[in-house]
Amino acid sequence: MDARTHELYVDRAMRNIGKTGVRWWVIAAALTACVAVGAYAWVYQLQRGLGVTGLNQKVSWGFYIINCVFFIGISYGGAITSAILRLTNAKWRAPITRLAEGLAVVALLVGAVYPLVDLGRPDRFLNLFAYAQVGSPVTWDWVAISTYLVASIVFFYLPLIPDLAVCRDVFGSGVRGLRGWSYRVLSLGWRGTPGQERLLLRGIGIMAVLIIPLAVSVHSVLAWLFAVTVRGGWHSTIFAPLFVLAAMLSGVATVILVIAGFRAAYGLQQFITQKHFRYLSYLLLALGSGYIYFMVSEYLTEGYVLEESTGPVLEALFVGSYAPAFWTFALGGLLLPLVLVALPGRYPIARACVASVLVIGGMWLKRFLIVVPGMAEPLMPWDWGIYQPTWVEIAITVGSVAAIPLGLMIMFFFFPVMSVHEMEEVEGVSEPAPVAAGRPVPALAGGGDA
């Protein structure tokens, strides 16, 4: 990357900081309205109890648990693109890691709220800490999620330090308030010295290695919420790997959508190129194929034997009342998008985006098909349960879906949308030596590397 391109990169990364326009406000307003409706629905539920949902004695888990798994799954995009690509030293990751890590933090914050929404007595959530039972999957849940949340925030923050320093220097004292404070304070006095670089790389390296097992643990724990019960369709040994893979798949798909959106809105076409979408599509293809394999393995094992508890669930999924949803997911949400990205052809970005939308929708549907038939299947000689979500659950879902782009927009109002430091790291360009105070800054229309 030549110097000019490098400058352009920095400029583009910083361009939208602190800037809002009409378009920004319109979109933000629409998203805020959705979030507000969701928040109102939650307050409505807090006042009246969970009776306002479609949950009942047979189907006692529904949208909230589905969404919890779904949104935490989306946060895996950050773990993969940032951590795994970093560890495998994939050079193309640099322009997209900031977006991916930001998505991870926002999605995780949204997903981590859902267990609270689902509680019958949220005012007693402190009991979880005071009387924590180590044998309970719910305990594993809050421990894993809280640890992963903190780790994601740290993993987002550490590579951000040098970029915050650049912001501090670019905007100087022209910025007051929260932004100014965050640049000055959170950049920790970054100067770009070799010593600091070394420390930062060490810290990021530790987090990159740590966040992968943490991410795996979070979704494994979510899977075990279901798998340690004896319900049909739940009590499966492959659940933890299945959930992890599903999370990675939905995470990568969401990353594709997010980078496509910000690329268009912030004019990053020169840096987030077709190559990124093609590579992410390959990742989508690999993960999707793996997911198909896991699903086939599970259904084959269960279907061949058709035990008393699993038989009815499989029947309902393949040919019964849940068959429309299942085949929509399998064909429209898994097979079709993979075919779409596998075939060579034009419009890789458009195809990747369409495929991602299908995958995300399909993954939500799959979580629905895991939770609801498992709960509805009769354990005793009675009828199947019925679940009809109410406006409260739908509103909260819509609100949380809207909260993610809103959160990202707010986040990248403050921070550079592309990681400057990571690009330098990838390109092997070192930070120029610190400029000594007092010496006049060379006037530069194009030469930045002293």
């Binding site: 109890g49 509680l119 019958g120 959530f125 009387y131 044998g135 809280s146 304070v185 354990l379 005793m380």
Partner: protein
């Protein structure tokens, strides 16, 4: 200078935060604070069990009604639920299902706050003051024996003292309730509501330690009664160790 001071504050704050957060897992060791016992301790060392004689059950559901009246439950709360079963040969019979008070209870294992616990006499109780309403126990129970208070429970017409796990009346919204073998009655020498109410004398309450069971009129030697009548437990293969035994009567599928 200002730079340095704020940095130090930030670092101190972050450090304290991280340290504090790191100690959260130590809460594990604070787990399982014991539940206060509120009723008089029973005099004998009992291990309660029930025997349900399906030869006699006629599906009248007086047991369900008696339980609902005793505990002031809404109509859809059937702590003892009578199933009308049609077996594979097409024969119909009735199967009352109270909570099985499993010895190896899945609901006990998965409760994150130990709101559900096992009393000394083997009965599984729910402390509705501690329950957070996560409904993990409902997902884990293989018998659908737990009921969640989605809405405000009915208010009893006469005032009761503060609800206890042994007598959770009235129920609390947002928590889980279930059959507790009427320990509030048995501790005081009375029969459980369902056993008392059964006209067909199909429900027996028994003690595994003293090896005796009674339906209020007839008293039998428990182990002998079970042996002679080929008693079985429902879905024994789940290995939950239920304390409720069934006596099949109409040639129904015994599951083995």
């Amino acid at each position: 200078m200002l730079d340095k001071v704020s940095r130090r504050h930030v670092l101190a704050g972050l450090g304290t935060g991280a340290m504090a957060a790191g100690f959260v897992p130590i809460a594990f060791e604070a787990a399982g604070a014991s539940h206060p016992t509120t009723t008089s301790a029973p005099q004998k060392d009992r291990q309660w069990a029930m025997v349900i004689d399906m030869r006699k059950c006629d599906g009248c559901k007086k047991c369900t009604v008696a339980c609902q009246e005793t505990h002031h439950l809404p109509a859809n709360f059937e702590w003892i639920k009578v199933f009308q079963v049609k077996d594979k040969q097409g024969r119909e019979y009735f199967m009352p299902r109270p909570c099985f008070q499993c010895e190896n209870a899945p609901c006990l294992r998965v409760c994150p706050v130990a709101a559900t616990y096992r009393a000394k006499d083997g009965v599984v109780l729910v402390d509705q003051d501690r329950c957070i309403g996560c409904r993990m126990c409902m997902a884990a129970c293989p018998y659908g024996a737990r009921y969640f208070n989605y809405v405000d429970p009915p208010v009893p017409d006469k005032p009761y003292a503060k609800p206890t796990p042994e007598f959770p009346v009235s129920q609390q919204k947002g928590t889980v309730g279930k059959c507790m073998f009427c320990v509030h009655y048995t501790d005081g020498g009375k029969l459980p509501a369902c056993v008392e109410a059964c006209n067909m004398l199909a429900l027996y309450i028994g003690d595994l330690v003293e090896d005796v069971a009674t339906n209020g009129v007839e008293t039998v030697r428990l182990s002998q009664f079970l042996r002679e009548n080929d008693a079985f437990r429902y879905r024994e293969e789940l290995n939950t160790g239920p304390r409720v035994y069934y006596i099949a009567g109409h040639g129904q599928d015994l599951g083995y």
